[in-house]
Structures are given as C-alpha cells and as structure tokens.
C-alpha cells in the first residue's frame, strides 16, 4: 500500500472540500471492504483518503415527507436491513441478505456497495478497467464478465448487490459537489455509466463529488431480488435480478426489471418488463420474461452460461416479487 494522507471530515461540505478534482488523487473510504484491498494491491493509489464514516448526516435511514425512505450512504448494510422503514421494500432486504457475510454486512455501507469498483479480475490484477481495450476479457478468461453492454472496451460487470433492486424501485441518488452547496438528485439508473477510456470511472460522479444518500419513492406494489450464487459464502453472484411489479387484479400493470452482475452497469431490461406487463405472474410468464431479458445478450467466448443464469435470475426475481416459489435453490 502506498503512503497516503488521511482526512476525517465531520460534515458533508468538509468532505467534498477535501476531494481533488483530479481522478484517482483522492479516494473515499467508508467501510473499506472494497477500497482497502485495491489499495493494498496498488490498483488504486490515492494521495489522500477521505474517511466519511464520521459524517453523521450520511448515516441512518429515515422516512421522507412523501412516504418514501432516505438512506444515508454511510449507513451499514446491517443497519439498513434492520430498519423498519426498509421492510416495505423486500427487493432490498433480499439483496442485502444475499451478502452471506456478517462481516461485510456490518462493515460495508449502502453507498459503498453502490460505488464499489468493477468486478473484473483483470482490473483487480492491475490491467486497468478496460484491460487492453477489452480484448483480454473477450479472448481469455472472461467467464465472469459481461453478457450485455459489452460491445465497447468495458467487459467487466458492475458488482453492486443492491443497485438492481434500487433501480427497479425507482431510487434516486443524492450527490453533492463540487461547488459548496451544489446538490443533485440523479435517477439511480443514470448514476452508472460504462466508461469509454481509463480516466472514466463506473459512475457519473466527478472526482470531487460525493454520493450522500439514496432516496426511495413510497413503496407500492411488489418487489423481489434473486441472485444465482455458486455457494453460500460471501462470494459475488454469477447473475442477479430484481423486479418491481405493480400488480392489480392479479395482473401486472407495470414492471421494472433490472439485472446485476451481467453488464458494466446494472442492466435495465425493458424487454422483460414488456413481456410480463399485462399478464398474471406464473412460472410460464416469468420464464417468458426471462427469455425476453436475454434475447439480446452478447456473451463472450467463455460466458455463454451466464445467459441461462440471467434468464433464470429474471424469472425467479419476478416470481419472488409476486410472492411465488422459485422452484429452485
């Protein structure tokens, strides 16, 4: 690990003021479950680390005036899981429970999960985000890599466990900076981006901007999340999906379906939502939505199997959202 300057601001504006406008010069430390490993391997080498765990306004879960919920980015995942205000969003609690590690749940933060760096062993072994223009992942050991959104150089997957559920639920990200008092509410699906060159990161955050909160609209309808996990440990899933369904009269009036671990960004599947809309949820209709979700998949040489896993994840997320059995593990 390279030596660095350590800053521990007490307020959001102090935190933003400590961030450099140069990419990579400052890194934000919350739970540290992702950042510290990357620093130890010198994949990231910040001059300054800004610890936001001491910013009280970024912690906790609170109801909003319109009946929604506002979750501080510095809130630990287990605190979110325990919050009574979050229980109305089963997609979120199911996703957090899927992180089969008490340590990660207790140490990792809500914002940290969303802002975690790319899941890609080439990136994490120092080859950069786009690993030789994406050719390495395409030609080599790309079995865990993207099956959607992978036509450019980015072949990694976004590893956030909760972002698919949040996007399906219509969450927004509160982002502050760079100027003092500057504040933006960004729909969470627009928060992520696929980088086109090495100086771009996986979110739209500028180097001197900070994610402070996630704001959820009032819970309405049904939500669920399903992850295909190889084992019961804290390993990342092979594919995941979250679904939010507005079911009235036994029929899906509206739906949002988002996939995780399959693209450089949480992958919104309009096709899956269209496939289930207007129908009652059943094994067959959920499966058809899964088929629709992967119709445009573009697997690499080593990850064709993820298409099947993505399909099943969508099917099972829809079944779970509707309160039905998945029929599998």
């Amino acid at each position: 690990m390279k030596n660095f300057e350590y800053a521990a601001p007490r307020t959001e504006s102090e935190a933003v003021a400590l961030l450099s406008d140069q990419p990579g010069h400052t890194e934000i430390l919350a739970g540290g479950t992702d950042l510290v490993g990357l620093m130890k391997k010198m994949v990231v080498q910040p001059e300054r680390v800004v610890y936001i765990g001491g910013v009280p306004s970024m912690k906790g879960v609170a109801p909003t005036a319109d009946g929604g919920v506002r979750i501080g980015a510095g809130t630990t995942l287990d605190e979110v899981l325990d919050s009574p205000y979050v229980q109305a969003y089963p997609g979120i609690t199911q996703a957090i429970r899927g992180i089969n590690s008490m340590q990660l749940q207790c140490q990792g933060t809500f914002g940290g999960d969303i802002c975690q760096r790319a899941r890609c062993w080439f990136f994490r072994n120092g080859h950069g985000l786009l690993a030789d223009g994406g050719r390495i992942a395409a030609d080599g050991a790309g079995e865990l890599h993207a099956i959607f959104g992978n036509r450019g150089s980015a072949r990694f997957v976004n590893g956030s466990r909760i972002a698919p559920a949040l996007i399906a639920l219509g969450a927004e990200a509160r982002v502050i900076g760079p100027a003092e008092g500057e504040e933006h509410l960004i729909p969470l699906d627009a928060f992520f981006r696929t980088p086109r060159h090495e100086r771009e990161r996986e979110t739209v955050l500028e180097p001197n901007q900070l994610l402070t909160h996630v704001v959820l609209p009032p819970a309405s309808g049904h939500s669920g999340a399903y992850e295909v996990r190889h084992g019961e440990g804290p390993d990342y899933p092979l594919a995941a999906s979250a679904a939010s369904l507005d079911i009235r009269g036994g029929v899906v009036r509206d739906a949002r379906v988002v996939l995780g671990q399959v693209a450089p960004i949480p992958w919104v599947s309009q096709a899956a939502a269209d496939a289930i809309r207007g129908l009652a949820v059943s094994e067959a209709t959920a499966e058809a939505a899964g088929d629709a979700a992967v119709a445009d998949a573009t697997p690499l040489s080593q990850n064709e199997y993820k298409v099947q896993l993505a399909k099943v994840a969508v099917k099972r997320a829809i079944l779970l959202a509707a309160g039905l059995e998945t029929g599998g593990f």
Partner: protein, 734 residues
C-alpha cells in the same frame, strides 16, 4: 529388553478417549503464536516482486529507486532472476525488498524497474491437442498388464493391442468416458514465510513448516554453516498440506538479508504469491474405455491420461490408475503437458484424489449405462481391490450405506424425483493409503518430584500432535494428560520426521510409547524392591505403580519417582521408519458416500449429506481423528464444487489468485458430514496408522458420481461449477 505393545481396548484409560486438543484454547483465542504472528525487535519486513509474466527473460533490473525509497534498508535481486535469466511462470519472485515497515517495503517493490522480454507461453493443461501442436507435451510413462502373456515370438506392443481389443470384443458392456480435475493450490491460510535472525554465525528461524527437524540443514547449506548452527522453530502452523517441507528460496533469502543487515527479517508471501508459487496439485484428465461382464465386473481397462505439474510436464502419476479397483487386464498411458505454471508440490495424498476422481467415475458410469445400482457395481468389483482388504472395503461400504440410507435414497441415474428444478443423487468412492510411521525420537524426562516432560522435534499441523503425545505418555505412565508436559516444535529437540504422508501420529506414538515404556520399566525395577515383587508384576495405573490387579500393594506416582534419587530419569527412545513394530502399521481403506442436490436451471450443486467411513488401525484420540476427516472432506467438497486455478490463455496469468476469487467451501456449503471410525479389533490390533491423507481422497469422485446420479449425465471435469453443469446438461440434450 522392553516388549512394546498397546494396552487392550478395555484396559485403556486415556488412549481411545475423545479428549479436546491440549492447545485448543490457545488456538481459538489467538494466544497461539504462528510464524505470521512473530514480530522481533528491530526486525525488517520484506516484500517480494513477483514476475508479472508467464514466460519471459529478465533484460535488466534497476533497483536504485527502490533503494532510495524512504524506509527501505536492503534490496536483493534473487540469483535466479539475474539479467539474462529465463522465468517460466507468473509470480516467481525476482527481487526482495527489506524495509522498516510493510508500507515502505511495498513502495520499494513498486519502485523496482524491471525490463522483461516476453516469451511465448502455454498455460492450458486440458487442451492436449493444442499442447501437442505447441510442442508442450512429453511422455509421462505407462504400463500394460494382461492375464494372457505374449508368446516368445510376439511383438509385445502388437500383442497388447490385439489382446486388449479381444477383451473388449468379449465384453458385455463397454464404457467410454472422459474425466478430469483441474489444478488446485494448497492455499494455506498462513502463507509460506519466516522470520529469520542471523546471530553472528548462527541462525534462528521461525518458519511456517511441516518439517522442523528437516529444514535446519537447508538454511545451513546456503549460509555455509552446519546444521547445529541453526534452530528452526514452529510451534503452530496455519496449513501446509504438503507444501511446507523446505525453507524455500525466499526463506534462505531472508536469512541472507538478515546476515547482510544484522537485523531479523520477516518475509511472508502475499496471498497471490502464496497461490501462484507456493504449492499446487497437478491437474489430470483422462479418456477411459473399460469392458465389463454381465454383472458389471470390469475385466479390461484402457486409458490415456494427461495433465501438468508445471513447466516440467508431469501430471498425475499413471501408477495409481485405475484407482483401487484394478482389473486383471489394463493399459494406461500418460502424457505430461508442460505449462508455464509453478511446479506442483505434494498435496494431501499425492496423486490419489485425482486418480480416484479420474477412474472411479468410470465405474459409476458403467453402473449408469447398465442401469444398475452403483453400490452393487462397486461391490462386485471389490474382488479386484488393492490397498485395504476387499472384506474391509465391503464392511465399510455396508456401514456407509446404512449411515446415508443408500437403499432408500437410491434411484437409477437421472431417474429421481424432481422438485421444481431440483434433482438429487447418490455417489460413492473408495480409497487407500499407506500411513506408515515416520522416524521419530523422544527424550522423556521424569523428575524425582514426579514431573514429566517430553521433547520431540515434531510439529503440530493443527491436527492434535501435542494431544496425541500426551495421551500416549499419560496412558503408559498411568497418569492424566495434564500431568505430562509435551514439548515439540523446534529442531533442537530430538529428530522426528516431517509431517507429510500421514506419518506423524504413527511416528510420535512409536517414539513416545517406547520412551514411556522404557522409562516406566526403570521405575518398575526400583519400585519392585519396595513392593517386594518382580518388576514384571507391576503396572502403572491411576497415578500409582502397583502390583497388577492388587491396588493395595502400590506406590503413589510421586513416591515412586523419589526412588530416582537426585537426578531426573532421562530416556531417549527412537523408531526408525520401516522397522517392523507392534505399535504401528500401514495400509488403510475408506469408503465415502455423497448425497447432493442439483438445481438444473442454474447448475448450482448443494451438499446434503456426506458419509466418511475410515479405518486407521488403533485410534489414539477419536475426536482429533474425526476432526482430520471432517477437514479432509471439506477440502474435498471445495475441490469438487468450487476451487481451481484459473489460467488465462490470453495473458498467461493465474487470474483468481486471491481468496475473493479463489472459491473455497464455506460452512454453509458442506451439508451434514457424518464420520464413522471403523475400528473393530481386527483393525485396532494392527497398531497406529496415519489418517491425514486417506479421507481427502474420495470426496471428489463420490460427489462427481452423486451429481451424475442426480442428472443422469456426467459433468466430466472438477470442479463442477454452474458453468460446467449447464454445459453438460446442454451437451446431453444435444
């Protein structure tokens, strides 16, 4: 002359009892100091630069920036990395930087400037055709045996060809199969490493090792010392599994740097270095054709196997193919694939787990194509069993079948009930191992005040060696285990063999029993006069020296020890490996059975129940013995379902050399594990036999067969990841 023996089961008061490990509290509370925990005053911390390329030539190394890095004290270019050297695998250490802190050492490594000339590489162990085309293969031996012998005028190869084909034509059932198992790493929780101090002509090395008595000379040789100048210490070790028998070149380098700087040097490998260079198990793949009669008795086997042990080719030894069940006629041919990967090291039961997974899967597939119960096919073929006696395997199969409820749960391959997308299946496998006792010496001191302590240059791999030593001493001296002090873990104690190959429990049982019997014989001589009897009439029991069967004529232990006079009784007793002995033996068998569930939509496999039935002669401590088996089974589950070294053909890199990506079984993944120690008098009377290796052999084959039983189709190569399960199902549909 003392006649060595073990007490009968009914007479044993300590041996055979499931005592907790004597050092369990230290280990679980963190009080136990492993090598990684050793920090010495004024020590330097050393980090190493690993080669980023699979194959390259070192063009130049500039250490000047590293040397100028604040905190860096010493930089050494390793001898094998001098400019012009060829480096044959990724991760090989090139330069070591010793510094005042971890951070300074890391920055120093980062500041090294090395120019490489990249060279062509080959890292794919499974792609035999590709390896042949790339000139990366080498013959790795083979053997053919037929009942019918060639005539004097026959060409032997032509005869074997013709005879094998004749036998296949005669076969009622012919099975052709493909099986394999990827390379895994030892993945020791405590990486390899040491903390070494040069003391003006002598060396003290805290070394994470399985071999305290056998590594002192390694340090001595390279430092131009003699072994008496070196003390190697290892009180606790966080995993070795066959990979920690030597100081390794990085340990020697730490010693050199200590000599150069006059300060202790701590060098522990980083996690990725540990996985890349500090031990892996050879990969093996095989194409099998076997022929069987109406009953499923295999009478001909023909196989071509390949695999890798690294740049030297190698792979799984053909000598254990087919595994345990060896028909009268067989031909096996092996090819080594030379890969740009670090060389393999011994891994718990070298060759056996792979051989079991590469051949007993074929027996299960025979049952599948015959529509027969796999249990019956294995039972039928026990007539050809090697290693343990067929009747022992048969009994263990019966015990295992009862424990897993085989009859009730069995269904023909692929014909089980489906629950949603989930199917279940049963599989079994059997194994053998030697487990002979290693050479071992024990110095036993009995003090006139009744104190007892032993000294032995063995080591505890975490399996309970201290506890076993104490139990043997306590039993022999008629004491409780807390009345004896066991000292192990340094090369300054009497020599004891390396802990590898399931040789330790036999070794220390031999040396400690002999020392205690020799010592107690001396005490009996002195006590006999007091008790007015013959020494041969005495026994040590319940803290007393007493006339056999007459506790009224006895001396309390302390009182008896006063007869020693002013000086302690010191006895050194030894056992030489291979010497016939009533105390230890070799050759065990075991049977394992797995019950799994598979989600056919995702390819995810979950363990339901795993049964391990194991013989190991006389069991000193059933708790630690079972613990060994639990651990072995969990390692086997990991190798069957999760772990493998993933080499990237595009870059030659070992891409998952971190625990975040190198997947191991967690507690939630292992299901219910049922362990049964098979110890009838016929086995117990054979004496002590090691069981570190045997239970690690069968799990992969047993789970492979259970998965095949569930799906009705074979997932050929372990680990059986969701990717591979789905591909197998897709192929079966096609």
């Amino acid at each position: 002359m003392v006649e060595y023996y073990w007490p009968k089961r009914e007479d044993s008061e300590v041996i055979g009892k499931p005592l907790n490990r004597l050092d369990g509290i230290e280990k679980t509370t963190g009080a136990a100091k492993y090598t990684y925990d050793i920090n010495l005053k004024k020590q330097l911390v050393a980090h190493a630069l690993g080669c980023p390329h699979a194959h390259c030539k070192i063009v130049s190394i500039d250490t000047s920036a590293a040397e100028k890095t604040p905190g860096v004290v010493h930089v050494e270019v390793l001898p094998h990395a001098a400019p012009g050297s060829e480096i044959k695998w990724q991760g090989e250490l090139l330069v070591i930087v010793a510094a005042e802190s971890e951070g300074a050492a890391a920055e120093g490594v980062k500041n090294l400037e090395v120019k490489y000339e990249k060279l062509p590489f080959w890292v794919d162990a499974e792609d035999l055709a590709g390896a042949e085309a790339a000139g990366q293969t080498a013959k790795a031996g083979g053997k053919a045996e037929t009942e019918k012998e060639p005539g004097d005028d026959d060409d032997e190869d032509e005869f074997i060809d013709a005879e094998i084909e004749r036998l296949f034509k005669q076969s009622k059932h012919v099975l052709e199969g493909y099986y394999g198992i990827d390379a895994i790493t030892h993945c020791c929780l405590e990486p390899h490493g040491s903390n070494v101090t040069w003391n003006d002509g002598s060396v003290t090395a805290y070394l994470s090792t399985q071999n305290v008595s056998g590594t002192d000379d390694g340090f001595a040789r390279d430092l131009e010392l003699t072994a008496d100048d070196v003390e190697v210490i290892c009180q606790y070790i966080g995993g070795g599994f066959g990979s920690k028998f030597a100081p390794d070149y990085w340990g020697i380098a730490a010693a050199r740097i200590s000599k150069a700087t006059g300060r202790p040097v701590k060098l522990m490998l980083s996690r990725d270095q540990e996985l890349k260079i500090a031990g892996n198990r050879p990969a093996g793949y095989i194409k099998v054709r076997l022929g069987a009669d109406d009953n499923g008795l295999v009478h001909v086997w023909d196989s071509q196997q390949w695999g890798t042990s690294g740049d030297n080719g190698g792979g799984v030894s053909h000598g254990v193919i087919p595994y345990v069940l060896v028909p009268k006629n067989y031909r096996r041919v092996a090819t080594g694939v030379k890969t740009n990967t670090a060389r393999s090291r011994a891994w718990r039961a070298p060759n056996h787990p792979q051989a079991c997974a590469m051949s007993q899967t074929a027996y299960d597939d025979l049952a599948r194509i015959m529509g027969k119960d796999s249990y019956d096919v294995f039972m039928t073929n026990l007539v050809n069993a090697q290693g343990a006696k067929p009747e022992v395997y048969a009994e263990e199969m019966k015990v295992g079948a009862k424990l897993i409820d085989w009859k009730a749960k069995w269904h023909p391959h692929g014909k089980g009930a489906r629950r949603g997308s989930i199917v279940d299946g049963l599989g079994m496998a059997l194994h053998t191992w030697g487990g002979t006792a290693n050479t071992s010496s024990c110095l036993l001191k009995i003090y006139p005040d009744g104190g007892v302590e032993s000294f032995c240059g063995t080591q505890d791999l975490g399996t309970g060696t201290r506890t076993v030593c104490a139990q043997v001493l306590a039993e022999t001296l008629g004491l409780k285990v807390n009345q004896v002090k066991v000292n192990i873990g340094t090369s300054k104690y009497p020599n004891s063999g390396a802990s590898g190959g399931s040789t330790t429990v036999g070794a220390v049982s031999e040396s400690h029993r002999r020392a205690a019997q020799d010592a107690i014989a001396s005490i009996f001589e002195k006590a006999a006069a007091q008790l007015e009897c013959d020494a041969g009439d005495l026994e040590a029991k319940g803290g007393k020296i007493q006339v056999k069967g007459d506790a009224t004529r006895s001396l309390e232990w302390k009182k008896a020890c006063t007869l020693l006079g002013m000086k302690p009784l010191e006895v050194t007793s030894s056992y030489e490996r291979g010497a016939p002995s009533p105390l230890s033996n070799s050759g065990v068998g075991g049977v394992q059975m797995a019950h799994v569930e598979v989600d056919t939509e995702t390819g995810v496999i979950k363990m339901k129940t795993f049964v391990a039935v194991q013989d190991q002669g006389l069991v000193i401590n059933p708790k630690t013995c079972k613990s060994q088996i639990y651990g072995a089974v969990i390692m086997g589950i990991a190798a069957a379902l999760y772990e493998h070294r993933i080499m990237d053909n595009a870059t030659g890199a070992f891409v998952n050399a971190e625990l975040s990506e190198y997947k191991l079984a967690r507690l939630g993944d292992i299901g219910d594990i049922i362990v049964e120690l098979y110890e009838p008098e016929s086995e117990r009377s054979r004496g002590v036999i090691g069981n570190g290796e045997p239970p690690a052999i069968s799990p992969i084959a047993a789970i492979a067969n259970a998965v095949c039983n569930a799906l009705g189709t074979r997932v050929p190569v372990a680990p059986f990841t969701p990717k591979r399960v789905l591909e197998a199902l897709k192929n079966a549909r096609a």
